[in-house]
Amino acid sequence: MSNPQSEVIRNVSLPSSSRDAVTSRLVAGAPSRLPNPDARLVGIQDEARDHRLYRRMRFIRRFEERLLDLFEEGLLNGTTHACIGQEADCVGVIEHLQPGDHIFSNHRCHGHYLAWTGDALGLLAEIMGKSAGVVGGIGGSQHLCAPGFKSNGILGGTVPAAAGIALGMKLSGGSDVSVAFIGDGTFGEGVLYETLNIASLWKLPLLLVVENNAYAQSTPISANFAGDMRARFDAFGIEAERLDSTDIHAIDEAAQRQIAAVREDRSPRALIIDTYRLCHHSKSDDNRPEAEIAERWLREPLVVHGARLDGPEVERIDHEVEEALGAVVDAARSLP
C-alpha cells in the first residue's frame, strides 16, 4: 500500500512541457514533508492485509476516543467532530489513493487525515492548539492541510475546490485522482450540484465519497433529503455506487473499483457509503434514539472486521495501537 506521506509531494502538476518554465514560481505552494508515522498505527511491514486494515481502523477509533477524553479533561478548545463508527470509510477508501492524489475533507476529517498521513501527533497537537500542530494550531480540528490533503469546515464549498484540483490534474495529464468526502447533510448545499454538472461536462477525475450516516447534526435524513441519493448523481450523468456497509472488505473493494475507474476514465464518479456515527455530532449533542445507537454498536467496523481475526491477534494489535497512541498523547501533552 501507499505511503503518500513519505513521497515527495507533487502539489503542483503542470503540463510537463511547461513545468520547468514555471517551477521557480511555484515553490510558495509546496508543503513540506511529514515525519514518518509510527508503524504500529499505520501498518507493520509485511503484516497480513486484514491485520493492517484492522490496525488502521483501530488507530482512528482510539485516536478519536482519546481525543474525546482529552476534551473532557479540558485540554482542547473549540469543538470537534469525531468519526467513531465511520472508520471503515476512511481506511477503505484511502487505501487506494496514491501519492499525487488529493483528498478534500470536511468538518469530520480526523479519520481521513489519519488514514492518509498517519500523523497522529500533528493532528493532536493541532487540536490542542499547539504550534507543533499540522497547521500551527491555527486551523484546529476542521481545517487541516498536508501534502495531498485539505479540509474545511464550511459545508459544500470544498467540493468545487476538489473539482478544481481535478481540473488541474486533467490539464497536467497523468493519472492522479481528486477525492472529496461529504456527508448526507451536505446535499443541502447548492454548490455541490453546480460542481457535479461541471465535473461531468468536463470529465474531471473526481471521486465523491458520500459518508451517509443518515444525520446532519440533529436532523435525520428524512427531514433533510428528498428523493434518491444515487439519482442525485445520475441526474448529472455521474455514475454512483451505493453500499450499505460498515464492513471494510466491502468498502475496500468498492473503493478500489471506483478509484480505478476514475483513474482510468478521467471522469467523475461517486461512492455512497451508508454508515453510522456512533458518537455525538460534535460535543454533547445527540438526540438520536438510544436503541438505534445501541444496535449500530453491534455492527460497527471494528466488530465486523475484528470477527475475522483471532482474539489474541486483535488483542496484540489493540495493545500496540494503545502503546503507540499513548506515546503520541504523552508527546502532545508535553509540547509547548
Binding site: N77, G140, F187
Partner: protein, 336 residues
C-alpha cells in the same frame, strides 16, 4: 435571565402573538432547539411555523423573501454568522432589492438572525463577525443584540417596520445576563436610552454624570459588554471616565446619540470585534470627524480586530481579537 433564554422567550412570544411569524433554520426544531438553543421548545409551540431546514442557507433566506412578500414575517436563523456569506446574493440582489425596484409595491421584511464572534476556539470558519460586509447595503438594517437591549422590545419594534434586517448575536452573549436600564441605572452605572424617531434605542452608560466624561466609547454586542467592564474599572481604579454608547441598530447609523455624547467629551473611540479596515467604526469615525471638525481633542480612534483569520488556538486567537486589555489601554489614551 440569560440572554439565550430571553431571546427564546421573546421568539416564543411573537410566535404566539403574531400569526405572520415563521421561524426557519438548520436544526432549530426540538429536541435539539438550534445549535445555540435559542429556539428550544418553539417547534412544540407552533410546529407549522417553526421549520427545521436542510443545510441550504441560500435557499432558506430566498424562501423567506417569498414568504415576506406574501405578508408573512419570516425569521431565519443562520447557524453561524460565518455562513451568512452563502446568503449574500439573496440579501443583496433579492431581499433588499424588491421593495425599491418594484417601486414600493411590495415589502420584504425578512429578519435573519445569526450567532457571531470568536473567543471560543471554534477556528477560522466558525468565529467571524462578518457583519461589516453587510453594512451600507441600501435598504438593509443591521442590528446587534446586546446585554442592554430587551430582545422582545427589539423584535416587536422590527415587526412594526418593513425593512429587511440582519440581527447578529455574539455567541458569548447568550450566557450573559440581560441587564436593562432601570430607574436610570444599570447596577452602579448611570444608564439611559436615547432614540431617534423610528430607530431602535441606543443605550448610554456612564459611571459619573455624562458631563464629567472625557471620552465617548461606541461599541455594540459583546464588545459593548467588555467595554462596560473596562470603563467601570477605569472609573474606579484610575478615575478615567468615559460614556459608553451602545446602539442596537448598527447600520444605518443613528448618529444623534453619538453626536450628543461627543459634544460633551470631544474624544471618540469605536470598538468592534470585526476585522479592521473598512469596518463599522470607519463610517462612524468619518461622520463624526466631519460633524465635530475642529472640535475634537484628538483624532477618532478605531479599535478592531487584526486583519486576519481567527486562529483556532486560544492563545493565537487572543492575539488577533480585540481584548479587554486592548480596550483598557486605548480608552485610557482616548480619554486623556
Amino acid at each position: 435571565m440569560m440572554l439565550v433564554k430571553e431571546l427564546n422567550a421573546a421568539l416564543e412570544r411573537i410566535l404566539t402573538d403574531d400569526p405572520r411569524v415563521v421561524l426557519m433554520g438548520e436544526d432549530i426544531a426540538d429536541p435539539y432547539g438550534g445549535a445555540f438553543k435559542v429556539t428550544r421548545g418553539l417547534s412544540s409551540v407552533a410546529p407549522e411555523r417553526v421549520l427545521t431546514t436542510p443545510v441550504s442557507e441560500g435557499a432558506i433566506v430566498g424562501m423567506a423573501a417569498g414568504l415576506a412578500m406574501s405578508g408573512y414575517r419570516p425569521i431565519v436563523e443562520i447557524m453561524f454568522a460565518d455562513f451568512l456569506s452563502l446568503t449574500f446574493d439573496q440579501v443583496m440582489n433579492h431581499i433588499t432589492k424588491y421593495p425599491a425596484m418594484y417601486d414600493g409595491k411590495v415589502t420584504c421584511p425578512v429578519i435573519i438572525r445569526s450567532p457571531s464572534g470568536g473567543h471560543r476556539g471554534y477556528g477560522p470558519t466558525h468565529s467571524q463577525s462578518p457583519e461589516k460586509h453587510f453594512l451600507g447595503l441600501p435598504g438593509l438594517t443591521v442590528v446587534a443584540a446586546s446585554p442592554y437591549h430587551d430582545p422582545l422590545a427589539t423584535l416587536r419594534a422590527l415587526l412594526l417596520r418593513d425593512d429587511p434586517v440582519l440581527l447578529v448575536e455574539h455567541k458569548l452573549l447568550y450566557a450573559e445576563a440581560l441587564t436593562l436600564a432601570v430607574g436610570g441605572r444599570i447596577g452602579a452605572a448611570l444608564a439611559r436610552e436615547e432614540s431617534s424617531a423610528g430607530r431602535l434605542p441606543s443605550v448610554l452608560i456612564s459611571w459619573v454624570p455624562p458631563e464629567v466624561c472625557t471620552v465617548t466609547v461606541v461599541a455594540y454586542g459583546y464588545s459593548a459588554l467588555i467595554a462596560a467592564r473596562v470603563l467601570e474599572q477605569l472609573a474606579i481604579e484610575e478615575e478615567v471616565f468615559g460614556e459608553l454608547v451602545v446602539p442596537a441598530e448598527i447600520a444605518p447609523l443613528d448618529a444623534a446619540p453619538i453626536s450628543a455624547s461627543l459634544r460633551r467629551t470631544r474624544s471618540l473611540i469605536t470598538i468592534e470585534e470585526g476585522t479592521e479596515g473598512w469596518s463599522w467604526g470607519s463610517e462612524i469615525a468619518q461622520r463624526m470627524s466631519v460633524e465635530a471638525f475642529g472640535q475634537l481633542r484628538r483624532p477618532v480612534d478605531i479599535l478592531a480586530s487584526a486583519s486576519s483569520i481567527i486562529p483556532s488556538s486560544r492563545e493565537r486567537e487572543r492575539e488577533v481579537l480585540v481584548t479587554q486589555s486592548d480596550m483598557r489601554q486605548r480608552i485610557r489614551a482616548a480619554a486623556a
